[in-house]
Symmetry: C2
Amino acid sequence: MALYIPNASPIPLEEAQRLVLATVRPLPLASIPLSRAYGYCLADPVLSDHNVPMYDRSTVDGYALRAEDVKWASRSTPVKLNTIEEIPAGHIPEKQIAPGMASRIMTGAPIPKGADAVVKVEETEIGEDEGRSSVWIYRSVTAGESILRKGADVEEGTIILPEGTFIGPVEAGLLSTFGVGVVPVYDKPKVGILSTGSELLPVDQQISPGKHRDSNGVMLAGQVRAAGGDPVYLGIVQDHPEELEKRITEALQQVDVLVTSGGVSMGDYDFLGNTFEKIGAKVVFWKTLIRPGMPALFGTWQDKPIFALAGNPASSYVNAWLYLLPAIRRMCGRRNPLPQRLTGICDEPIAMMPMPHTRFLRGFAYISSSGELRVKIARKQASGILSSFLESNCLVRVPGEKGYAAGERVEMDLIGTLGESVCP
Amino acid sequence: MALYIPNASPIPLEEAQRLVLATVRPLPLASIPLSRAYGYCLADPVLSDHNVPMYDRSTVDGYALRAEDVKWASRSTPVKLNTIEEIPAGHIPEKQIAPGMASRIMTGAPIPKGADAVVKVEETEIGEDEGRSSVWIYRSVTAGESILRKGADVEEGTIILPEGTFIGPVEAGLLSTFGVGVVPVYDKPKVGILSTGSELLPVDQQISPGKHRDSNGVMLAGQVRAAGGDPVYLGIVQDHPEELEKRITEALQQVDVLVTSGGVSMGDYDFLGNTFEKIGAKVVFWKTLIRPGMPALFGTWQDKPIFALAGNPASSYVNAWLYLLPAIRRMCGRRNPLPQRLTGICDEPIAMMPMPHTRFLRGFAYISSSGELRVKIARKQASGILSSFLESNCLVRVPGEKGYAAGERVEMDLIGTLGESVCP
C-alpha cells in the first residue's frame, strides 16, 4: 500500500537531496572494452602494478652520456665522445657508458648504464673519425637532465584511480597504461521520460489553440545525458487516469528510473498521486522548499526511483538539476553526485521577499579581468520561461530570509561551463 | 609535390591556431531527428514562428478573476465570487469574466477574457451556495499576477537559435517548441587516431623490457569525443616507413581528420615527414612556440586535416587541446572553437627561465571563499608525465618572457570543470 501524502508539508532542499541519495544506489556492474569506457565510472579501484616509466627513460632525442664528461662543453669548446650504440625507442641498451663514450638515444628509450644525462641532438654534431663513430657535444648538462626517472609518473603499488572515478581522457590513458582493456564500471541508468498534460503536442504536430508542443521531454533527455544517464523519451500522456496508469506501468518495466513532468502541482496532484498509489509506489516526498519547482514528487516502485517534476519548463529544469541528476550520478557510481556550490559576487542587488523557500535564479557567471567570479542575474525568471536559460550558465541560490546588495557574495551552481558561455 | 619543411622555424601559438582555423571548415550538413540532436551544432538559424506562450496563460492552479473584485480580500474578509467555468490545460475558455465572477483554471491554461489575475487555489475555498458554484477568495492580487503574457518567453519573429548553436538541453527544448523535429546540423567529424612508435604495446599485451602500453590513443579519443568529434582508434604503427605509409593511406580514406602521436620530434621527423611527402600531403606547419609539445605537425591531404602530435603524453594532450580540438569544434560548426581564456590569481610564485615559448602548466583552478578564481600549479610538469592531469583542471599560460609572483594574475584555459573537480 502506498504512502499517500498529498498534503504533506514541503521539506527543505538539503533534506530532500539527502533522502534521494539515501534511496538510490549504484547500478550493477558491467564490463566494457576500454574503447567504450569514456563517460562511465570505475566500479573497482585501479592499482599500479608497475612503475611508470618502468625504467629511467630519455625525454628527448640525443646522446646519453656522463654529465662529468661534458662539463666544459660549449659551441666554442665542443667535446668529442665515441658513440658505441644506437638505442631506438622500444629497445634495451646493451652497452655501458664508460668515460668518453656516448650512445645515440631516441625519445622514450631506456637510459644505458653508466649514463646520467642526455644532450639533445640539436646540441650535437656527428664527428668524422678514422673508422670510429663519434659525436661533438656543444653544451654542458647537469646530471639527470632529460631523463624521466623510473616511477616518476606513477609509482608501483599505488591506487592510481579509486573506485567511482569518472573516466575522462586522462583516466582512459592511465587504464591503458595499466593494461585494463576490459573496464569494470557501473552501468548507466536507463531513464524513461514521460511528459504529462492534455495541452501538450508532439514536436511534429501543428500547434492549435490552447496547446503547445512538449519541450520538457527533450530538455530532460539532454540533462540526463549530460549527467551520464541513458535517456529514453517515452512521449506524451494526456491527463486521463487510466492512460497515465497504463503508460507509467509499462514504462517502469523498461527503465531503471522514471521521470514525469507536469501534473504534480496542487490542483493536478490527484492524477499522479492516485496513479502512484494504485500501482503500489512508495512516495518519499512531494514538495520541497525551493522555487521554482516547489512541487516535485520523489518515490520508488520496486526500488526503481520515480521523479514527478513540475511542468513549467524552468521548474522542471531546476527540479531535475537538484534531485534527478544527483540520483543519476549516484546510480552511475560517481563519488560526488551533488552539484558543487561556488561563491561569486553579484553585479546588481537581488531584491527578494522573505519566504521559507530557497530561490534559484538564472544568471550568467563570468570571471572578471581582475580574476573574480561575478554573476549577472537574468532578466526573465518566471517559471514558465525557458528562453532565459540560453544566456545563463548558473543558478544563483537565494536563501529564503533575504536578498543581496550589489557586490555581496552569493552562492551558485554552474549549469554551463564558464569557458564556453557567451559573455552577454 | 609536398611542401617539405623539416627545418622550418617554429611559429607562434596564435599564428598556428589561425592557420588551423583558416584551413578547416564545417562538415557537410546532416538532418537528424531531434531525439538524437544533443551535442550537434545547428546548421541553420531557428526563427520563432509564433509567440511563446501563444496566449496569456496561468502560471498556477487557481481562479482567474478581476483583481479589482478582490482588492479587499483577506483571510478575515474573504470575497465570494461566482464560478462560471473550469478551464483545464489544453482548453480554450468559452466564458468571459464579468464583475463578481471567476473561472477555475489550471496551470498552463489560457486566461479567459475579462480576467486580469489568478489567485492560487491554496488561497481559496469552494463556497456553498444554493445551486450555484462559488469560491471564497482569501487574498488580494495585483493585476497581472500569476499570468505569463503572450510572447513573454519568446516573441514571434526573432532568431531564437542562431546558426552554429551547440544543442544542449535547453536548445533541444526550444527546437521542440518550434516544431523542429528534424534538425539541420553539421555532421560530426570522424577522427582517426594512430599511435606511432616501436616501443608501444596494445592495452591487452604484457609489458616487456623497453616497451610500454599506448596511452595516447584512448586519451586522444576521449579528448576528441569531449570536443564533439567521433573518434576511431586505429591502433599502433611501428616505426617502419612502409608500414606507416600503408596505415596512414588506409586511414585517410576512412576518416575526416587524421591524428597521429609520436614520431614527430627532431630525430624522428623523417618517418612522418617523408611519409606525408610521399603520399602528397601538404604540410602547413611543423613546430610551434609552445611547451610542452613544440613539435606538432599540421597539414592536409586532399583537404583532410592531418595532425601529427608529439608522443610524450602531456605534449600530446596540450597539442590536441590547442590545435586539434579547435579544428574539431570548427568542423562541428561551433561559433567559438578556441578555448576561452580566464584570468585567475596564482597561489604560489611561478619561476620560469625566459624563452620564446608559451609554457602550459597543469594546475588546479578553484573559486576561493571570497569569490576569486585562484590556481595552484601541479607539482609534476614533465612532458612524459600523464598522472598529474588527474588533479588538474586547467592549463596556466606562461608567456615566454617571464614568471609570476604569488598573487599575480595569470591566464588559464579550463580543461576540466570548476564545479566537478576534486579540491586537493
